[in-house]
Amino acid sequence: MLFNSVAFALFLGTVACLYHLCPLAWRRWCLLGASYAFYCTWSAPFALLLLAATGVAFVAANKVAAAQTDRQRKRTLTAGIVVLFLPLLVLKYCGALRPVLGELVGERWAPHLLWIGVAAPVGISYYTLKLVSYVVDVYWGRVQAAPRWSTVAAYGTFFPHILSGPIQRAGDFLAQVQPIRWTHPERIASGLRLILFGLFEKLVVADRLGVLVDQVYGRPAEHTGLAFTLAMYGFAVQLYADFSGLTDIAIGVGRVLGIMAPPNFDAPYYAENIQEFWRRWHMTLTGWLRDYLFTPLCVGLSDWGQAGLAVSLVVTMVAVGLWHAASLTYAVFGLVHGICLVVSSLTLRSRRRLYRRHAALHAMHGVLGPLVTFNMVVATLVIFRAENLGVAWYALQQSCGGLLQLVGSIGDPERVTALFVNLPVNWSLRDTVIACGAIVAMEIVHFLQHTRRLSTVLAVTPRWIQWAGYYALALCILIWAQTDSPQFIYAQF
């Protein structure tokens, strides 16, 4: 059941009514029932795995909390982490190793390995990280072990977040369900607003740009130059709108059920440097990796000085890449970002001093920083999108060639027009106008969210103007929604 389907709207309406009408004491079970029902629409057999994972997390956390010695606590923690990660590693990552494993076990047993890595259970990358963080947080004393399995299960299976996050921390979630409180109508209203805006981001911005991007990347050999340049920038905006839209819907659905969740994006394409970009992009994943991978690595390698920091950064960023899937393109994407982060963090202090010494540079930095960072991210996303590294290299060469061609034609409107008219893609001027208008509207809202002014603006805007805005947004979705690609990009991870 996709978030952007009529079936989900009916499901959410039914669940929300039941949830808010039933007594507070029953709501946790209502939430749990709804989450499992939702998960079963994706995969009933793997719902058992989810059930087992929440059980393992519940038992491991309680055993960690009850352990008498530090050694016992560490052993229980390690066992819990290994058991929780095992299904993720086997079902999602071992597919890449299947041919090797097949050769190792021989012809007779090889067919029995077919189940490995064939299909990763939906949401496994998200709920595994959530449950692992819960057990580790109990070990660190950040949260108390929940006395009831249903509480841990409600956290791990929470259906709005299971497909694509955000990866909410246990402490934040458990504080809202132990006990569950009455939900203020304004929270439900803000959830519905987010859902509407998320649908706009996905259906009007992301899916429209997807039409252009898919044509180019779908048949790369048939395209050259400017087509790749447009697809390169188009994909960067498509991915952002798609994932941000999906997250907004997920957070909005959670709010409809009274659960607040952390944001996943904070206007990342305006970041002044690559470190800042990663603090503002997929924030709940990078926050998870910072706390449970990067910091332990840094502390462990603290005797290595700056080399330890560099190694930790690269390993963390490769993990970010591989978290998406066991593929060379994702690994290289992570590696490139890791190297960029190392270079940027090691030179940050010198750069800052340089800006301080030269007033002109300091003035330009506010514009140049985001411009350079944005273009760097856009270029690396080519590796993320391409089918393999060969296509990525070709796409990057063509994109740069197209950009140079465009820059070289500036000043000659006829040449520029000819460049766009002769593009071998099915993309009209109408598409361009709709996409650009929708991106501007989306970015105005993102800017207001980033500057924390959205609630202020809503508070001072008369009700009738607000409602006119909601109807306009709904109308835009009805008229301009692309319905060819209902799947969200990040739901596959």
């Binding site: 070990y139 660190w140 004393g141 950040r142 470190q275 603090r279 910072r290 706390d291 990067f294 910091t295 332990p296 840094c298 502390v299 603290s302 000085g305 330890g308 920091l309 930790s312 950064l313 963090s345 202090r349 800052r352 001093r353």
Partner: protein, 80 residues
């Protein structure tokens, strides 16, 4: 080491790590109060403190710090 000396040495480390001589640490100070205090500089800070005071922190200790006051208590607890 007395409290004043510990705070002074820690303040010097903060100035060095965040490249800002105007920093004056307080018990209530958090990462929100120092512009440059991100996760990378947090690690730089931890490593610098470990070296300067010749102590070691665990991951749980590093991740659980709420403010500078707790950091000072943690350092004090590890000093001989």
């Amino acid at each position: 080491m007395d409290d004043a000396a510990l705070r002074q040495r820690l303040n010097d480390i903060f100035c060095e790590v965040f490249d800002d001589d105007s920093i004056r640490i307080t018990d209530e100070m958090t990462a929100q109060d120092v512009e440059e205090w991100d996760s990378l500089n947090h690690i730089n800070l931890i490593v610098a403190v470990q070296r300067s005071f010749k102590i070691k922190f665990t991951v749980g200790e590093v991740n659980n710090l709420a403010n500078v006051g707790e950091f000072i208590d943690l350092i004090r607890g590890k000093l001989p």
